[in-house]
Protein backbone atom coordinates (compact mmCIF):
# COMPACT_ATOMS: atom_id res chain seq x y z
CA UNK A 1 0.00 0.00 0.00
CA UNK A 2 0.98 3.55 -0.64
CA UNK A 3 1.20 6.20 2.07
CA UNK A 4 1.03 9.90 1.28
CA UNK A 5 2.61 12.31 3.77
CA UNK A 6 1.95 16.05 3.40
CA UNK A 7 4.69 18.10 5.05
CA UNK A 8 5.12 21.81 5.64
CA UNK A 9 8.18 24.00 5.84
CA UNK A 10 7.89 26.14 8.98
CA UNK A 11 10.09 28.23 11.21
CA UNK A 12 12.10 25.94 13.49
CA UNK A 13 10.36 25.15 16.78
CA UNK A 14 13.27 26.53 18.82
CA UNK A 15 12.92 29.99 17.33
CA UNK A 16 10.86 32.61 19.11
CA UNK A 17 9.32 34.70 16.36
CA UNK A 18 8.78 38.44 16.58
CA UNK A 19 6.05 40.57 15.16
CA UNK A 20 7.05 43.08 12.46
CA UNK A 21 6.97 46.70 13.56
CA UNK A 22 4.29 47.53 10.96
CA UNK A 23 2.04 44.82 12.47
CA UNK A 24 1.41 43.13 9.14
CA UNK A 25 2.92 39.77 10.02
CA UNK A 26 5.68 38.04 11.93
CA UNK A 27 9.24 38.60 10.77
CA UNK A 28 10.65 35.40 9.30
CA UNK A 29 13.70 36.85 7.57
CA UNK A 30 16.90 34.93 8.22
CA UNK A 31 15.26 32.50 10.63
CA UNK A 32 16.02 28.81 10.66
CA UNK A 33 13.36 26.84 8.79
CA UNK A 34 12.57 23.18 9.36
CA UNK A 35 10.05 20.50 8.65
CA UNK A 36 7.03 20.96 10.93
CA UNK A 37 7.68 18.61 13.92
CA UNK A 38 4.32 16.84 13.58
CA UNK A 39 5.00 16.24 9.88
CA UNK A 40 8.37 14.76 10.74
CA UNK A 41 6.59 12.34 13.07
CA UNK A 42 4.22 11.49 10.18
CA UNK A 43 7.17 10.76 7.87
CA UNK A 44 8.77 8.57 10.53
CA UNK A 45 5.55 6.60 11.04
CA UNK A 46 5.13 6.05 7.31
CA UNK A 47 8.73 4.87 6.98
CA UNK A 48 8.24 2.50 9.91
CA UNK A 49 5.12 1.08 8.26
CA UNK A 50 7.21 0.51 5.15
CA UNK A 51 9.99 -1.14 7.13
CA UNK A 52 7.40 -3.38 8.77
CA UNK A 53 6.26 -4.52 5.32
CA UNK A 54 2.83 -2.88 5.68
CA UNK A 55 3.47 -0.09 3.19
CA UNK A 56 5.25 -0.39 -0.14
CA UNK A 57 5.79 3.25 -1.02
CA UNK A 58 5.98 6.53 0.90
CA UNK A 59 5.29 9.71 -1.09
CA UNK A 60 5.83 13.13 0.50
CA UNK A 61 4.14 16.27 -0.75
CA UNK A 62 4.66 19.90 0.18
CA UNK A 63 2.85 23.02 -0.92
CA UNK A 64 4.98 26.13 -0.99
CA UNK A 65 7.82 28.00 -2.59
CA UNK A 66 10.78 26.22 -4.14
CA UNK A 67 12.56 26.35 -0.77
CA UNK A 68 10.21 23.68 0.60
CA UNK A 69 12.11 21.19 -1.56
CA UNK A 70 14.69 21.30 1.26
CA UNK A 71 12.15 19.80 3.62
CA UNK A 72 11.09 17.27 0.97
CA UNK A 73 14.77 16.25 0.71
CA UNK A 74 14.90 15.88 4.49
CA UNK A 75 11.89 13.56 4.33
CA UNK A 76 13.49 11.60 1.49
CA UNK A 77 16.62 11.23 3.61
CA UNK A 78 14.47 9.86 6.42
CA UNK A 79 13.26 7.14 4.08
CA UNK A 80 10.45 8.46 1.89
CA UNK A 81 10.63 7.28 -1.72
CA UNK A 82 9.68 10.31 -3.78
CA UNK A 83 8.44 13.84 -3.43
CA UNK A 84 5.90 16.19 -4.96
CA UNK A 85 6.18 19.95 -4.66
CA UNK A 86 3.17 22.08 -5.41
CA UNK A 87 4.71 25.39 -6.30
CA UNK A 88 3.07 28.56 -5.02
CA UNK A 89 4.28 31.72 -3.38
CA UNK A 90 0.91 32.38 -1.77
CA UNK A 91 0.09 31.70 1.86
CA UNK A 92 -2.27 28.82 1.37
CA UNK A 93 -5.00 28.45 3.99
CA UNK A 94 -6.06 25.00 5.25
CA UNK A 95 -9.17 24.66 3.07
CA UNK A 96 -7.12 25.30 -0.08
CA UNK A 97 -4.30 23.07 1.18
CA UNK A 98 -6.90 20.34 1.66
CA UNK A 99 -8.28 20.89 -1.85
CA UNK A 100 -4.80 20.65 -3.37
CA UNK A 101 -4.03 17.54 -1.35
CA UNK A 102 -7.36 16.06 -2.40
CA UNK A 103 -6.24 16.32 -6.04
CA UNK A 104 -2.99 14.59 -5.19
CA UNK A 105 -4.95 11.88 -3.37
CA UNK A 106 -7.10 11.35 -6.46
CA UNK A 107 -3.99 10.96 -8.59
CA UNK A 108 -1.94 8.86 -6.20
CA UNK A 109 -4.72 6.79 -4.58
CA UNK A 110 -2.92 6.24 -1.26
CA UNK A 111 -4.45 3.93 1.34
CA UNK A 112 -3.34 6.16 4.19
CA UNK A 113 -2.69 9.89 4.24
CA UNK A 114 -0.56 10.71 7.28
CA UNK A 115 -0.44 14.39 8.26
CA UNK A 116 0.71 16.33 11.27
CA UNK A 117 -2.09 17.27 13.65
CA UNK A 118 -1.07 20.92 13.40
CA UNK A 119 1.49 23.24 11.97
CA UNK A 120 3.46 25.15 14.57
CA UNK A 121 3.26 28.39 12.58
CA UNK A 122 -0.46 28.61 11.85
CA UNK A 123 -1.56 26.38 14.76
CA UNK A 124 -4.68 25.62 12.71
CA UNK A 125 -5.20 21.92 13.30
CA UNK A 126 -7.62 21.62 10.36
CA UNK A 127 -6.03 20.32 7.19
CA UNK A 128 -6.22 16.56 7.81
CA UNK A 129 -9.84 16.75 8.89
CA UNK A 130 -10.76 18.90 5.87
CA UNK A 131 -8.97 16.59 3.47
CA UNK A 132 -10.75 13.59 5.00
CA UNK A 133 -14.11 15.31 4.51
CA UNK A 134 -13.38 16.23 0.88
CA UNK A 135 -12.14 12.74 0.08
CA UNK A 136 -14.99 11.06 2.00
CA UNK A 137 -12.45 9.24 4.14
CA UNK A 138 -12.60 8.48 7.87
CA UNK A 139 -10.05 10.16 10.11
CA UNK A 140 -7.96 9.24 13.13
CA UNK A 141 -6.71 12.53 14.51
CA UNK A 142 -4.07 13.16 17.23
CA UNK A 143 -2.74 9.60 16.88
CA UNK A 144 -0.46 8.07 19.48
CA UNK A 145 -0.68 4.58 17.95
CA UNK A 146 -1.48 3.33 14.45
CA UNK A 147 -2.13 -0.34 13.66
CA UNK A 148 -3.04 -1.52 10.18
CA UNK A 149 -5.10 -4.72 10.16
CA UNK A 150 -6.29 -5.95 6.78
CA UNK A 151 -8.48 -3.31 5.17
CA UNK A 152 -8.83 -1.34 8.39
CA UNK A 153 -6.64 0.79 10.58
CA UNK A 154 -6.94 1.17 14.35
CA UNK A 155 -5.90 4.53 15.68
CA UNK A 156 -5.42 5.39 19.34
CA UNK A 157 -6.11 9.09 19.77
CA UNK A 158 -4.94 11.50 22.44
CA UNK A 159 -8.13 13.20 23.63
CA UNK A 160 -9.10 15.42 26.56
CA UNK A 161 -9.36 13.07 29.49
CA UNK A 162 -7.26 10.23 28.10
CA UNK A 163 -7.08 7.98 25.06
CA UNK A 164 -9.72 6.83 22.58
CA UNK A 165 -9.35 4.09 20.00
CA UNK A 166 -11.27 4.10 16.73
CA UNK A 167 -11.30 1.72 13.79
CA UNK A 168 -11.35 3.20 10.31
CA UNK A 169 -12.02 1.72 6.88
CA UNK A 170 -9.13 2.21 4.48
CA UNK A 171 -8.37 4.50 2.76
CA UNK A 172 -8.13 6.80 5.77
CA UNK A 173 -6.57 10.00 7.04
CA UNK A 174 -4.41 9.90 10.17
CA UNK A 175 -2.94 12.94 11.93
CA UNK A 176 -0.02 12.56 14.32
CA UNK A 177 0.41 13.60 17.91
CA UNK A 178 3.76 14.03 19.61
CA UNK A 179 3.98 10.65 21.26
CA UNK A 180 3.39 8.54 18.15
CA UNK A 181 7.12 8.01 17.69
CA UNK A 182 10.48 9.68 17.97
CA UNK A 183 11.82 10.53 14.52
CA UNK A 184 15.24 9.19 13.59
CA UNK A 185 18.15 11.29 12.40
CA UNK A 186 19.01 10.96 8.74
CA UNK A 187 22.33 9.20 8.19
CA UNK A 188 24.90 10.70 5.84
CA UNK A 189 24.56 7.89 3.24
CA UNK A 190 20.79 8.38 3.30
CA UNK A 191 21.19 12.14 2.85
CA UNK A 192 23.35 11.42 -0.20
CA UNK A 193 20.87 8.89 -1.53
CA UNK A 194 18.01 11.36 -1.06
CA UNK A 195 19.64 13.71 -3.55
CA UNK A 196 18.89 11.24 -6.32
CA UNK A 197 15.30 10.56 -5.36
CA UNK A 198 12.77 12.25 -7.64
CA UNK A 199 10.75 15.36 -6.78
CA UNK A 200 7.94 16.23 -9.21
CA UNK A 201 6.85 19.85 -9.39
CA UNK A 202 3.24 20.83 -10.07
CA UNK A 203 1.22 24.01 -9.85
CA UNK A 204 -2.21 24.71 -8.37
CA UNK A 205 -3.35 25.64 -11.91
CA UNK A 206 -2.33 22.21 -13.22
CA UNK A 207 -4.30 20.64 -10.42
CA UNK A 208 -7.25 22.89 -11.17
CA UNK A 209 -7.46 24.40 -7.71
CA UNK A 210 -8.03 28.06 -7.14
CA UNK A 211 -6.39 29.31 -3.97
CA UNK A 212 -9.04 31.07 -1.94
CA UNK A 213 -8.44 33.74 0.66
CA UNK A 214 -11.60 33.57 2.71
CA UNK A 215 -9.72 34.90 5.68
CA UNK A 216 -7.95 38.22 5.61
CA UNK A 217 -5.37 39.09 8.23
CA UNK A 218 -6.04 42.65 9.34
CA UNK A 219 -3.17 42.93 11.76
CA UNK A 220 -0.67 40.92 13.75
CA UNK A 221 0.34 41.97 17.24
CA UNK A 222 2.53 40.76 20.05
CA UNK A 223 0.62 39.24 22.95
CA UNK A 224 0.30 41.29 26.09
CA UNK A 225 3.72 40.86 27.56
CA UNK A 226 4.26 39.53 31.03
CA UNK A 227 7.07 40.93 33.01
CA UNK A 228 9.04 38.97 35.53
CA UNK A 229 7.83 39.50 39.09
CA UNK A 230 9.85 39.07 42.21
CA UNK A 231 12.05 36.30 43.53
CA UNK A 232 11.06 35.18 47.00
CA UNK A 233 13.62 33.90 49.48
CA UNK A 234 11.65 31.20 51.20
CA UNK A 235 8.50 29.09 51.15
CA UNK A 236 7.17 31.19 54.04
CA UNK A 237 7.54 34.35 52.00
CA UNK A 238 5.87 32.67 49.01
CA UNK A 239 2.88 31.55 51.07
CA UNK A 240 2.58 35.01 52.63
CA UNK A 241 2.65 36.72 49.23
CA UNK A 242 0.07 34.37 47.77
CA UNK A 243 -2.22 34.94 50.77
CA UNK A 244 -1.82 38.66 51.38
CA UNK A 245 -0.58 40.23 48.17
CA UNK A 246 -1.99 38.13 45.32
CA UNK A 247 -4.88 36.83 47.46
CA UNK A 248 -5.16 33.66 45.41
CA UNK A 249 -5.06 31.10 48.23
Amino acid sequence: MKILVPIKRVVDYNVKVRVKSDNTDVDLSNLKMSINPFCEIAVEEAVRLKEAGVASEVVVVSIGEKACQEQLRTALALGADRGIQIETSEKVQPLSVAKLLHKVVEEEQPQIVLLGKQTIDGDNNQTGQMLAALAGMPQGTFASEVKVEGDKVQVTREVDGGLMTVELNLPAVVTTDLRLNEPRYASLPNIMKAKRKPIAVKTPEELGVEIATNIEVLKVESPASRSAGVMVESVDELVAKLRNEAKVI
Binding site: D123, A132, T141, L238
Partner: protein
Protein backbone atom coordinates in the same frame (compact mmCIF):
# COMPACT_ATOMS: atom_id res chain seq x y z
CA UNK B 1 -28.07 36.30 12.33
CA UNK B 2 -28.44 33.01 14.20
CA UNK B 3 -25.51 31.23 15.76
CA UNK B 4 -25.26 27.49 16.27
CA UNK B 5 -23.18 26.35 19.24
CA UNK B 6 -22.25 22.67 19.40
CA UNK B 7 -22.47 21.42 22.99
CA UNK B 8 -19.57 19.61 24.63
CA UNK B 9 -20.73 16.70 26.80
CA UNK B 10 -20.34 13.02 27.62
CA UNK B 11 -24.04 12.16 27.09
CA UNK B 12 -24.67 12.65 30.81
CA UNK B 13 -23.25 16.02 31.77
CA UNK B 14 -22.93 19.30 29.87
CA UNK B 15 -19.34 20.56 30.13
CA UNK B 16 -18.66 24.14 31.19
CA UNK B 17 -16.75 24.58 27.93
CA UNK B 18 -20.18 25.03 26.38
CA UNK B 19 -21.04 27.86 28.79
CA UNK B 20 -17.91 29.63 27.57
CA UNK B 21 -18.60 29.04 23.88
CA UNK B 22 -22.08 30.49 24.40
CA UNK B 23 -20.34 33.54 25.92
CA UNK B 24 -18.32 33.90 22.70
CA UNK B 25 -21.56 33.56 20.71
CA UNK B 26 -23.15 36.28 22.82
CA UNK B 27 -20.18 38.54 22.04
CA UNK B 28 -20.90 38.04 18.33
CA UNK B 29 -24.55 38.90 18.96
CA UNK B 30 -27.77 37.50 17.52
CA UNK B 31 -29.95 34.55 18.28
CA UNK B 32 -28.17 31.54 19.82
CA UNK B 33 -29.14 27.89 19.31
CA UNK B 34 -27.32 24.96 20.87
CA UNK B 35 -26.99 21.53 19.26
CA UNK B 36 -26.71 18.57 21.62
CA UNK B 37 -25.69 15.55 19.54
CA UNK B 38 -25.27 12.24 21.33
CA UNK B 39 -27.06 9.15 22.50
CA UNK B 40 -29.48 9.24 25.43
CA UNK B 41 -28.41 12.80 25.99
CA UNK B 42 -31.73 14.25 27.15
CA UNK B 43 -30.33 15.46 30.45
CA UNK B 44 -27.62 17.36 28.64
CA UNK B 45 -30.24 19.09 26.51
CA UNK B 46 -32.11 20.15 29.66
CA UNK B 47 -28.91 21.65 31.07
CA UNK B 48 -28.18 23.42 27.79
CA UNK B 49 -31.67 24.96 27.85
CA UNK B 50 -30.67 26.82 31.03
CA UNK B 51 -27.71 28.64 29.46
CA UNK B 52 -28.30 32.38 29.48
CA UNK B 53 -28.92 33.81 26.02
CA UNK B 54 -29.85 30.54 24.33
CA UNK B 55 -33.23 30.55 22.56
CA UNK B 56 -33.42 26.98 21.30
CA UNK B 57 -31.76 23.63 21.95
CA UNK B 58 -31.69 21.06 19.16
CA UNK B 59 -31.24 17.48 20.29
CA UNK B 60 -29.91 14.89 17.85
CA UNK B 61 -30.26 11.73 19.91
CA UNK B 62 -28.94 8.83 17.89
CA UNK B 63 -26.52 5.94 18.45
CA UNK B 64 -24.43 7.28 15.55
CA UNK B 65 -23.46 10.31 17.65
CA UNK B 66 -22.73 8.50 20.93
CA UNK B 67 -18.95 8.76 20.70
CA UNK B 68 -18.89 11.99 18.69
CA UNK B 69 -17.22 10.26 15.76
CA UNK B 70 -16.12 13.05 13.42
CA UNK B 71 -17.41 11.28 10.30
CA UNK B 72 -21.00 11.31 11.62
CA UNK B 73 -21.00 14.50 13.65
CA UNK B 74 -19.27 16.35 10.81
CA UNK B 75 -22.13 15.45 8.45
CA UNK B 76 -24.80 16.40 11.00
CA UNK B 77 -23.28 19.80 11.76
CA UNK B 78 -22.75 20.57 8.07
CA UNK B 79 -26.37 19.63 7.40
CA UNK B 80 -27.95 21.64 10.25
CA UNK B 81 -25.36 24.39 10.03
CA UNK B 82 -26.38 25.49 6.53
CA UNK B 83 -29.12 27.63 8.07
CA UNK B 84 -26.81 29.57 10.38
CA UNK B 85 -24.52 32.57 10.14
CA UNK B 86 -21.96 31.14 12.58
CA UNK B 87 -21.14 27.67 13.87
CA UNK B 88 -19.12 27.57 17.09
CA UNK B 89 -17.54 24.76 19.08
CA UNK B 90 -14.95 24.58 21.84
CA UNK B 91 -11.34 24.13 20.73
CA UNK B 92 -11.35 20.82 22.63
CA UNK B 93 -10.14 17.58 21.10
CA UNK B 94 -13.77 16.91 20.13
CA UNK B 95 -14.35 20.31 18.51
CA UNK B 96 -11.00 20.24 16.74
CA UNK B 97 -11.84 16.79 15.43
CA UNK B 98 -15.25 17.24 13.79
CA UNK B 99 -15.59 20.96 13.07
CA UNK B 100 -13.00 21.28 10.25
CA UNK B 101 -14.84 18.40 8.57
CA UNK B 102 -18.09 20.33 8.69
CA UNK B 103 -16.35 23.47 7.39
CA UNK B 104 -14.89 21.59 4.41
CA UNK B 105 -18.29 20.05 3.62
CA UNK B 106 -19.77 23.56 3.68
CA UNK B 107 -16.83 24.80 1.56
CA UNK B 108 -15.88 27.50 4.06
CA UNK B 109 -12.75 28.17 6.08
CA UNK B 110 -12.47 27.55 9.81
CA UNK B 111 -11.07 30.06 12.25
CA UNK B 112 -9.35 28.11 15.01
CA UNK B 113 -8.98 29.06 18.65
CA UNK B 114 -10.46 32.56 18.81
CA UNK B 115 -9.72 34.51 21.97
CA UNK B 116 -11.67 37.68 21.16
CA UNK B 117 -14.62 38.86 19.09
CA UNK B 118 -14.18 42.29 17.47
CA UNK B 119 -17.16 42.16 15.10
CA UNK B 120 -19.43 39.43 13.74
CA UNK B 121 -16.83 38.76 11.02
CA UNK B 122 -13.65 39.78 12.85
CA UNK B 123 -11.84 37.78 15.52
CA UNK B 124 -8.48 37.54 17.25
CA UNK B 125 -6.56 34.31 17.44
CA UNK B 126 -3.08 33.37 18.61
CA UNK B 127 -0.62 31.61 16.31
CA UNK B 128 3.10 30.74 16.47
CA UNK B 129 2.50 29.16 19.89
CA UNK B 130 0.91 32.35 21.14
CA UNK B 131 3.90 34.53 20.23
CA UNK B 132 1.68 36.53 17.90
CA UNK B 133 -2.00 37.41 17.85
CA UNK B 134 -3.70 37.86 14.49
CA UNK B 135 -6.87 39.84 13.94
CA UNK B 136 -8.64 38.11 11.08
CA UNK B 137 -11.69 38.94 9.03
CA UNK B 138 -13.75 36.26 7.35
CA UNK B 139 -15.61 36.77 4.09
CA UNK B 140 -17.33 33.38 4.26
CA UNK B 141 -21.12 33.20 4.29
CA UNK B 142 -20.97 30.89 7.29
CA UNK B 143 -18.31 31.52 9.87
CA UNK B 144 -17.05 28.27 11.38
CA UNK B 145 -15.11 28.87 14.57
CA UNK B 146 -13.46 27.03 17.43
CA UNK B 147 -13.26 28.96 20.68
CA UNK B 148 -10.39 28.95 23.14
CA UNK B 149 -12.53 28.52 26.21
CA UNK B 150 -9.94 29.85 28.65
CA UNK B 151 -10.44 33.28 27.06
CA UNK B 152 -14.18 33.57 27.79
CA UNK B 153 -16.18 33.61 31.03
CA UNK B 154 -18.96 31.07 31.37
CA UNK B 155 -22.52 32.36 30.96
CA UNK B 156 -24.95 31.86 33.84
CA UNK B 157 -27.63 29.19 33.99
CA UNK B 158 -30.57 31.55 34.08
CA UNK B 159 -32.23 30.76 30.76
CA UNK B 160 -35.11 28.55 29.73
CA UNK B 161 -34.83 27.74 26.04
CA UNK B 162 -37.19 25.47 24.16
CA UNK B 163 -35.88 21.98 23.44
CA UNK B 164 -36.68 20.44 20.08
CA UNK B 165 -35.64 17.18 18.43
CA UNK B 166 -33.43 17.34 15.35
CA UNK B 167 -34.10 14.06 13.65
CA UNK B 168 -31.28 14.23 11.16
CA UNK B 169 -29.56 10.85 11.33
CA UNK B 170 -26.16 10.68 9.67
CA UNK B 171 -24.12 7.51 9.88
CA UNK B 172 -21.22 7.60 7.45
CA UNK B 173 -20.51 3.95 8.28
CA UNK B 174 -16.76 4.27 7.72
CA UNK B 175 -15.50 4.42 11.29
CA UNK B 176 -16.30 2.82 14.60
CA UNK B 177 -15.52 3.33 18.25
CA UNK B 178 -13.40 0.62 19.84
CA UNK B 179 -12.81 1.88 23.37
CA UNK B 180 -11.26 4.49 25.56
CA UNK B 181 -9.01 4.74 28.57
CA UNK B 182 -10.00 7.79 30.51
CA UNK B 183 -8.03 9.00 33.49
CA UNK B 184 -10.31 9.27 36.46
CA UNK B 185 -9.47 11.95 38.92
CA UNK B 186 -11.21 13.43 41.93
CA UNK B 187 -9.49 16.72 41.27
CA UNK B 188 -10.92 19.51 39.16
CA UNK B 189 -10.07 19.16 35.49
CA UNK B 190 -7.56 21.57 34.02
CA UNK B 191 -10.15 23.45 32.01
CA UNK B 192 -12.16 24.48 35.04
CA UNK B 193 -9.62 24.49 37.90
CA UNK B 194 -8.98 27.92 39.41
CA UNK B 195 -5.62 26.73 40.72
CA UNK B 196 -3.26 24.39 38.85
CA UNK B 197 0.01 22.91 40.05
CA UNK B 198 2.13 21.36 37.30
CA UNK B 199 5.26 19.26 37.37
CA UNK B 200 7.99 18.86 34.79
CA UNK B 201 11.02 16.71 34.14
CA UNK B 202 12.43 17.90 37.44
CA UNK B 203 9.88 15.68 39.23
CA UNK B 204 12.03 12.70 38.17
CA UNK B 205 9.24 10.09 38.27
CA UNK B 206 5.51 9.55 38.54
CA UNK B 207 5.69 8.59 42.20
CA UNK B 208 6.97 12.07 43.07
CA UNK B 209 3.85 13.64 41.56
CA UNK B 210 2.15 12.55 44.82
CA UNK B 211 3.84 15.55 46.43
CA UNK B 212 2.03 17.83 43.98
CA UNK B 213 -1.24 15.96 44.50
CA UNK B 214 -1.06 16.57 48.23
CA UNK B 215 -0.64 20.29 47.67
CA UNK B 216 -3.40 20.19 45.06
CA UNK B 217 -5.79 18.57 47.51
CA UNK B 218 -5.19 21.29 50.08
CA UNK B 219 -5.77 24.03 47.51
CA UNK B 220 -8.58 22.34 45.59
CA UNK B 221 -6.28 22.49 42.59
CA UNK B 222 -5.92 20.52 39.38
CA UNK B 223 -2.62 18.83 38.51
CA UNK B 224 -0.89 19.41 35.18
CA UNK B 225 2.44 18.56 33.59
CA UNK B 226 4.95 19.54 30.95
CA UNK B 227 5.40 17.48 27.83
CA UNK B 228 8.71 16.18 29.14
CA UNK B 229 6.94 14.73 32.19
CA UNK B 230 4.27 13.12 30.00
CA UNK B 231 6.75 11.75 27.46
CA UNK B 232 8.85 10.26 30.23
CA UNK B 233 5.73 8.39 31.34
CA UNK B 234 5.44 10.11 34.74
CA UNK B 235 1.79 11.02 34.13
CA UNK B 236 -0.95 10.53 31.48
CA UNK B 237 -1.12 12.59 28.29
CA UNK B 238 -4.26 14.51 29.17
CA UNK B 239 -2.31 16.36 31.88
CA UNK B 240 -0.06 18.10 29.34
CA UNK B 241 -0.26 21.86 29.38
CA UNK B 242 1.04 23.76 26.35
CA UNK B 243 0.85 24.61 22.68
CA UNK B 244 -0.19 21.10 21.86
CA UNK B 245 -1.78 20.13 25.14
CA UNK B 246 -4.29 22.03 27.25
CA UNK B 247 -4.42 25.80 27.22
CA UNK B 248 -5.25 27.01 30.71
CA UNK B 249 -5.68 30.37 32.42
CA UNK B 250 -6.34 29.74 36.13
CA UNK B 251 -6.13 32.29 38.94
CA UNK B 252 -2.94 30.62 40.13
CA UNK B 253 -0.50 28.41 38.21
CA UNK B 254 2.38 26.80 40.09
CA UNK B 255 5.13 25.40 37.85
CA UNK B 256 7.40 22.95 39.62
CA UNK B 257 10.59 21.67 37.96
CA UNK B 258 9.51 23.10 34.61
CA UNK B 259 12.04 25.09 32.57
CA UNK B 260 9.53 27.22 30.67
CA UNK B 261 9.95 26.29 26.99
CA UNK B 262 7.96 28.43 24.51
CA UNK B 263 5.59 25.53 23.93
CA UNK B 264 4.82 25.18 27.63
CA UNK B 265 4.40 28.93 28.14
CA UNK B 266 1.91 28.93 25.26
CA UNK B 267 -0.43 26.91 27.43
CA UNK B 268 -0.25 28.82 30.71
CA UNK B 269 1.06 32.35 30.33
CA UNK B 270 -2.40 33.88 30.52
CA UNK B 271 -2.77 32.61 34.10
CA UNK B 272 -3.48 35.43 36.51
CA UNK B 273 -0.69 34.66 38.96
CA UNK B 274 2.26 32.43 38.10
CA UNK B 275 4.59 30.82 40.63
CA UNK B 276 7.75 29.01 39.57
CA UNK B 277 9.80 26.69 41.73
CA UNK B 278 13.05 25.72 40.05
CA UNK B 279 16.60 25.16 41.18
CA UNK B 280 18.08 26.85 38.12
CA UNK B 281 18.03 30.65 38.49
CA UNK B 282 18.41 30.98 34.69
CA UNK B 283 15.27 28.94 33.91
CA UNK B 284 13.12 30.94 31.46
CA UNK B 285 10.01 30.20 33.52
CA UNK B 286 11.21 32.88 35.97
CA UNK B 287 10.77 35.49 33.23
CA UNK B 288 7.01 35.04 33.31
CA UNK B 289 6.58 34.20 36.99
CA UNK B 290 5.05 36.70 39.40
CA UNK B 291 6.75 34.88 42.25
CA UNK B 292 9.87 32.84 41.70
CA UNK B 293 11.46 30.55 44.23
CA UNK B 294 14.93 29.26 43.44
CA UNK B 295 14.99 26.03 45.40
CA UNK B 296 15.22 22.29 45.18
CA UNK B 297 11.66 21.14 44.68
CA UNK B 298 12.22 18.14 46.92
CA UNK B 299 12.67 20.59 49.82
CA UNK B 300 10.29 23.31 48.74
CA UNK B 301 7.20 21.27 47.84
CA UNK B 302 6.96 19.31 51.13
CA UNK B 303 7.53 22.54 53.03
CA UNK B 304 4.83 24.29 51.00
CA UNK B 305 2.49 21.42 51.72
CA UNK B 306 3.19 21.68 55.43
CA UNK B 307 2.58 25.41 55.50
CA UNK B 308 -0.73 25.54 53.69
Amino acid sequence: MTILVIAEHDNAVLKTDTHKVVAAAAAIGGDINVLVAGANCGDVAQSAAKLAGVSKVLVADNAAYEHHLAENLGLLVADLGKEYSHILAAASTTGKNFLPRSAALLDVAQISDIIRVDAPDTFARPFYAGNAIATVKSSDSIKVITVRTSAFDAVEETGSAEVVAADAAHDAGISSYIGSEMTVSERPDLGSASIIISGGRGMQNGENFKMLEEVADKLGAGVGASRAAVDAGFVPNDMQVGQTGKIVAPELYIAVGISGAIQHLAGMKDSKVIVAINKDPEAPIFQVADYGLEADLFDAVPELNAKL
